[in-house]
């Protein structure tokens, strides 16, 4: 463990980090200066009891369970708070009677008011109190007086229940809420023996609340969802990766029989540390909700169950007929391997480059940006983010859109004063918790704000290691992505792109965009095409040579085909060939797409539609063939997080009988009599790896210039909107307790804008387009005049479907 002088790297590290050497229970241990004794002891294999000292919270030394003896100090010392000093001689419970007695005394105290209801406690079997009572406690209690009692569990939110009798006051939960999440909605209340955890007038509606259950060292905090449903020792645990966003959290999925019982954060210091968000933790009931049990085929206008061979035959025939005139929409939720299989299937089986993974608002610059700046690259990383002196956020709300990125930023702000600057319409709650400086931006005109960035912000970004993070929403602001990339070039800041969905980054890397082949290879580059063709075992000439259509273009093309067919019919002419004869759609929720009405019409109008889905949807409603596919627990795969880091995961249910998308595509290829494509995950990964990243030029063809800042008239405003972490997303369905912790839906405008339309604070504001109206209580917010913010996809506010609007559009305001 000590540095050797001939090891340059280690020597350098030692020069940077001062090391100290102490003795713990007779064993010498060398640790970085500042390491507390309890951690140093862990390195020697000595486990000191503890309740209040999880590694990622500031020490409080409150529970006193970890008292040890330090030579030269008169009293036992809390090993969670005292740093190991050079030459310090420490005796833990293993070698010190004093320490052992002090620990046993604390354990006895902790149990006098504890109900000892382990047999009916959710924590029983995985309970630090239970375990340490066995290792450290007395077999019999001397306490014979009345125990303090409290009414059994109280809801501190719809999701979290608190049993105060079991609580040992370690304050892990309150400290987590305050230090890590920045949501001090739970606190210590009362004092002395009557001290307890409590809430104020509002519930514990924090996006990170579930972590408190996991770090609670007793059974005081339980979830409404899991309470009394399983015993830990009956569960099978599998490491998995969260499918909800691009943060890339490692999770532990616990299942019993064939049902997921709970999911917890898995410790991954490089990514999610020990935390995850409540969506990732609780939003899993959808996995078993309303599943398609077998293939469906359309007959006489109705879907009916069909055998796999029949359905595959029909699908292959339909797709085969459309070869060269098909399009593939993959959504953003596929694993990297599945996405790769679609990218490959489109270019080979369907001979088309019409492929788009984006089921959301997109912009003209985005494909070029992703191809040239993102695809096949890696970083910036969480570590770089944590170390950055300054971070600029562009059209990105980390707490809502990538919560673990938010936690890392908050940690950096708290620990080393990282300066966060956000280009946004107003300082959101999340930004406030990051003490972020606001660069006000009119939605859609972020490029202007970036161009006119204050000099001091540029100076911040010029500090080595600074980071610029652009959210996927930046795509809809013309010129913003280019401006951000230019800013990164000029300042030397790292540039990161953060999509919302877990599968988007993997889909970019594997070529689920028009004009983009796997590994960031430009389709138009002959060398790139050759590399891919060789890996796929096809002739380079067989691959499409010009960039295909993106989702809106596919929709438009289908509409144009219909118009052409209609006019040809009216003229009595023979209809010319369609541009799009077939659609292959995977995991797309139509309402996620702006102008979803047009998409729905295209799904209806396209001559042949194959849908690979897990459950009935608006897409399956129109499909000619529906092929059911696996959900994440039923397959192995990889999500690529926003960093570009692969997050592989194994199958949770080894006995699952469903097929992953890639396997269904391989079956289709079989029915199309094509050469065998890799169909299992190891083979797919091997092929992806053998291709690797593109080493050649990545041109970024001219980006759109910034558009003029919109100038709304009286009674109008520019729409600002993003998705809240907890909203009406379909992957949150089936978890009412989680839904109960959603933020209330409000519309935000400035005081002047509210006054302009005569709506007082708290009254309902109506926001309208020609298509519809959303009416919400207004919350007067410090923000530029002439902007209205709405939640994008909340129960009372569905911007894409009700207003059919995207951020930056002008909308009408009024009093409901």
């Amino acid at each position: 463990m000590t540095a050797t002088s001939n090891d340059k790297d280690t020597a350098q590290a030692a020069a940077e980090v001062e090391m100290v050497t102490g003795v713990i229970d007779g064993h010498e241990v060398t640790v970085p200066k500042g390491t507390v004794i309890i951690r140093a002891a862990e390195l020697t294999g000595v486990d000191i009891p503890r309740f209040c000292a999880p590694p990622l919270l500031d020490p409080v030394a409150a529970c006193r369970a970890c008292l040890i003896e330090v030579e030269g100090m008169p009293k036992p010392q809390p090993s969670c708070a005292v740093e190991l000093g050079d030459g310090m001689v420490v005796h833990t419970q293993l070698t010190s009677e004093v320490a052992a007695k002090a620990q046993a005394g604390v354990m006895e105290f902790l149990l006098i008011n504890h109900p000892l209801d382990c047999p009916v406690c959710d924590k029983g079997g995985e309970c630090p109190l239970q375990n340490q009572a066995m290792t450290t406690g007395n077999p019999e209690t001397r306490y014979t007086l009345q125990k303090l009692t409290f009414p059994k569990p109280i809801n501190i939110s719809t999701e979290i229940l608190l049993d105060r009798e079991r609580c040992v006051m370690c304050q892990r939960c309150t400290r987590f809420a305050d230090e890590i999440a920045g949501d001090p909605f739970i606190e210590l209340v009362q004092r002395g023996a009557h001290q307890q955890i409590g809430i104020g007038e509002e519930p514990f509606d924090s996006y990170f609340s579930g972590n408190t259950i996991q770090i609670c060292p007793v059974g005081a905090l339980t979830s409404a969802d899991y309470r009394f449903r399983a015993r830990p020792f009956d569960l099978v645990s599998v490491p998995t990766t969260c499918e909800h966003c691009a943060s890339g959290c490692s999770l532990r999925t616990d299942y019993r029989h064939d049902a997921v019982m709970r999911r917890q954060a898995w410790d991954d210091p490089e990514v999610n540390e020990e935390w995850n968000c409540d969506k990732g933790r609780f939003a899993f009931p959808y996995l078993s909700l309303d599943r398609l049990s077998g293939p469906l085929v359309r007959e006489d206008g109705e879907l009916r169950p069909a055998s796999w061979p029949e359905a595959l035959r029909l699908a292959a025939d339909g797709l085969g007929r459309a070869r060269g005139r098909a399009a593939v929409l993959t959504g953003g939720r596929l694993t990297m391997e599945d996405a790769y299989a679609y990218a490959r299937f489109a270019r080979t089986a369907l001979a088309t480059d019409n492929i788009d993974m984006r089921a959301r608002a997109i912009g003209p610059d985005e494909a070029g940006f992703l191809a040239s700046q993102v695809a096949g690259t890696c970083g910036p990383t969480y570590a770089q983010l944590a170390a950055a002196p300054a971070v600029l956020l562009v059209a990105f709300e980390p707490e809502e859109e990538s919560p673990i990125v938010f936690l890392r930023l908050r940690k950096a702000v708290r620990q080393h004063g990282q300066q966060v600057v956000t280009v946004a319409p107003y300082p959101s709650h999340g930004s406030t918790k990051l003490s972020a400086t606001l660069v006000p931006a009119v939605p859609g005109a972020e490029a202007h704000s970036l161009a006119a960035l204050p000099a001091d912000v540029r100076d911040l970004l010029q500090q080595p290691g600074s980071v610029i993070l652009v959210g996927e929403r930046a795509a809809t602001a013309p010129g913003a992505l280019r401006a951000a990339a230019d800013l990164a070039d000029q300042t030397g800041a790292h540039l990161g792109w953060i999509p919302r969905r877990a599968g988007e980054r993997g889909a970019v890397d594997t070529g689920c965009l028009p004009g983009l082949l796997p590994g960031g290879r430009p389709l138009t580059d002959p060398a790139a095409r050759r590399e891919v063709a060789s890996a796929w075992g096809v002739a380079a000439d067989d691959l499409p040579t010009s960039a295909g259509l993106d989702l809106p273009a596919v929709v438009a093309a289908i509409a144009a085909d219909v118009a052409t067919r209609r006019s040809a019919a009216e003229q009595g002419d023979e209809a010319p060939a369609n541009t799009i004869d077939a659609l292959l759609v995977a995991g797309v929720e139509a309402s996620d797409v702006p102008h979803s009405d047009a998409l729905l019409r295209a799904l209806q109008d396209v001559p042949f539609l194959v849908s690979l889905e897990t459950r009935p949807s608006e897409v399956t409603d129109f499909a000619d063939v529906v092929l059911p596919v696996s959900v994440v627990t039923e397959k192995e795969g990889t999500f690529v997080d926003w960093e570009g880091r692969r997050r592989p995961f194994a199958r949770s249910f080894p006995l699952a009988t469903t097929f992953p998308d890639a396997e269904v595509l391989a079956l289709l290829a079989d029915y199309l009599d094509l050469d065998a494509a890799p169909r299992d995950v190891p083979a797919l990964r091997a092929e992806i790896d053998s291709l690797g990243a593109w080493g050649g030029e990545r041109p970024w063809p001219g980006a759109a210039g910034a558009t003029d800042t919109p100038n709304p008239g009286p009674g109008e405003a520019v729409l600002a909107s993003w998705r809240l972490l907890l909203d009406r997303g379909i992957m949150q369905e089936g978890e009412p307790y989680l839904a109960g912790t959603r933020q209330p839906s409000v519309a935000r405008v400035s005081a002047a804008t509210a006054a302009g339309v005569g709506v007082p604070d708290g009254e309902r504001l109506s926001v309208s387009t020609d298509h519809g109206t959303i009416a919400l209580p207004v919350e007067i917010t410090e923000m530029p005049d002439g902007i209205v913010w709405l939640p994008m996809n909340s129960p009372e506010s569905r911007v894409t479907t009700t207003l059919r609007a995207t951020p930056g559009d002008t909308v009408r305001l009024g009093r409901e």
């Binding site: 409150a62 105290f109 303090l148 006051m169 002395g192 023996a193 001290q195």
Partner: protein, 436 residues
């Protein structure tokens, strides 16, 4: 040893609390003197004087001041601890009522020394009179130019905020006091960092007791050698003793450290009705009890420790032989149970357990095992709790058992009120005496 009125010397002036009276008795001359002296020299003077904190711990005051980093670019704060809540302690509030300007002058001098421009006087909330009196006096001092901008042309700017608490004994602990003053639960903070480095608002802060700061002007004015003429080498100077309990004339007696309890008791007219002292506590309920055997022990920090107790706040409580030890100890433990902040396990759970058990003894329902168990349970708190409150709660029982074991054994069956007639312990008539 003679009495030596210093802080209390002019209290018989009917308006002793006014600026006028204070100045007539030499007030604010020390300030003018100090402001002409280099701040480091002021610190050195206080260091040399040997003044020790009067809040209970007796930490050398000048040394505490010298821990404040200089030229660190951060604001510095002085916080005066006027949260006098220790059972038995009743000397800071009289000082604030009778001689508020000594405290203010002391604050200005201290702030000059530690380079602070903001001071706070934290006064417990349950006593409105010193709050309003200190506020008025601060206003007087401000109007006279002793506070505000550029005090006496020295360049020192200083504002004092008088702050009322809300009922929590633990706020007498300096870091709990700082959390309370920041608008939080008054629970002690982890040290290090110590307040001198990261105190109020995480800035360098000195926390001193009212009596300590009130002593400063007299030391500056009269000099170190004058101060050291009183007291001993390790416990120099004068002290405001508040003598209470079964004494003939309870009250405030100012005398040098080193005076004996016997001497103080003589000045106070002895135990009431010529009775004998049964036990006494030199400085609050948190120090071990002593008996008549210790009446000749000099009241210095060091000698009282040698006798098995602590000087604490220097406010002796004396009880005569009518007093039930069981009842006295139980009541103090009820206090600690009530005031335990809840932060650490030994104090929170231990005070709850001990007190519940003691209450059984008080009712005559103790058990032989528990007599010994209680010693062990106290030892499970002593030195293991987060702050001194736990130690304080663990202190009273063991010495009382050592000195009065028979009373505890009697309490296995006999309620305290049967063993000792409560009416006999009282110093007031036991009946209302109002014509029925």
């Amino acid at each position: 040893m003679p009495l030596t009125p210093v802080i209390t010397a002019h209290w018989d002036d009917p308006h002793s609390y006014t600026l006028d009276s204070y100045r007539r008795h030499g007030g604010y001359t020390a300030l003018a003197q100090a402001l002409k002296t280099d701040p480091d020299e002021v610190i050195a003077t206080v260091k040399e004087s040997g003044l020790r904190g009067r809040g209970g711990a007796g930490f050398p005051t000048g040394l505490k001041w010298s821990f404040v980093p200089q030229n660190d670019g951060r604001p510095h704060y002085l916080v005066v601890n006027g949260d006098e809540s220790e059972p038995g302690a009743c000397k800071d509030i009289p000082i604030m009522l009778a001689n508020p300007h000594a405290l203010i002058e002391g604050i200005v001098i201290t702030c000059w020394a530690i380079r602070a421009s903001h001071a706070f006087i934290y006064i417990r909330g349950e006593v409105p009179m010193p709050i309003r009196r200190m506020q008025k006096s601060v206003a007087e001092a401000r109007a006279a130019g002793y506070l505000g901008k550029n005090i006496l042309g020295s360049g020192l700017d200083l504002e004092i905020v008088v702050h009322g608490g809300a009922g929590a004994y633990i706020c007498g602990e300096e870091t709990a006091l700082l959390d309370s003053l920041e608008g939080r639960r008054g629970q002690p903070r982890l040290k290090p960092p110590f307040p001198a480095v990261a105190g109020l608002y995480a800035s360098p802060t000195v926390v001193n007791n009212v009596e300590t700061i009130s002593s400063v002007p007299y030391i500056i004015k009269n000099g170190v050698s004058w101060y050291r003429e009183m007291g001993t080498e390790k416990s120099p100077g004068f002290k405001v003793w508040a003598v209470s309990g079964h004494v003939t004339r309870p009250g405030i007696y100012e005398a040098p450290l080193g005076i004996t309890m016997g001497e103080l008791l003589d000045y106070a007219g002895g135990i009431r009705d010529g009775r004998d002292v049964k036990f006494w506590l030199p400085g609050g309920s948190s120090v071990p009890m002593l008996t008549a055997d210790h009446l000749d022990t000099p009241m210095t920090y060091e000698a009282i420790v040698d006798a098995g107790s602590m000087l604490g706040t220097g406010t002796p409580m004396l009880f005569d032989e009518t007093t039930s030890v069981v009842k006295a100890i139980t009541r103090w433990l009820e206090f600690y149970r009530h005031e335990s902040c809840g932060k650490c396990t030994p104090c929170r759970e231990g005070t709850y357990w001990i007190t519940g058990t003691l209450e059984k003894f008080q009712e005559g329902r103790g058990s032989q095992d528990e007599i010994e168990d209680l010693v062990e349970i106290c030892n499970q708190i002593m030195g293991r709790s987060f702050c001194a409150l736990g130690d304080a709660a663990a202190t009273p029982y063991a010495p009382s058992l050592a000195l009065f074991r028979s009373e505890w054994e009697a309490a296995l069956t006999q309620p305290a009120d049967e063993a000792f007639d409560p009416a006999a312990t009282m110093i007031i008539p036991s009946m209302s005496g109002v014509g029925a």
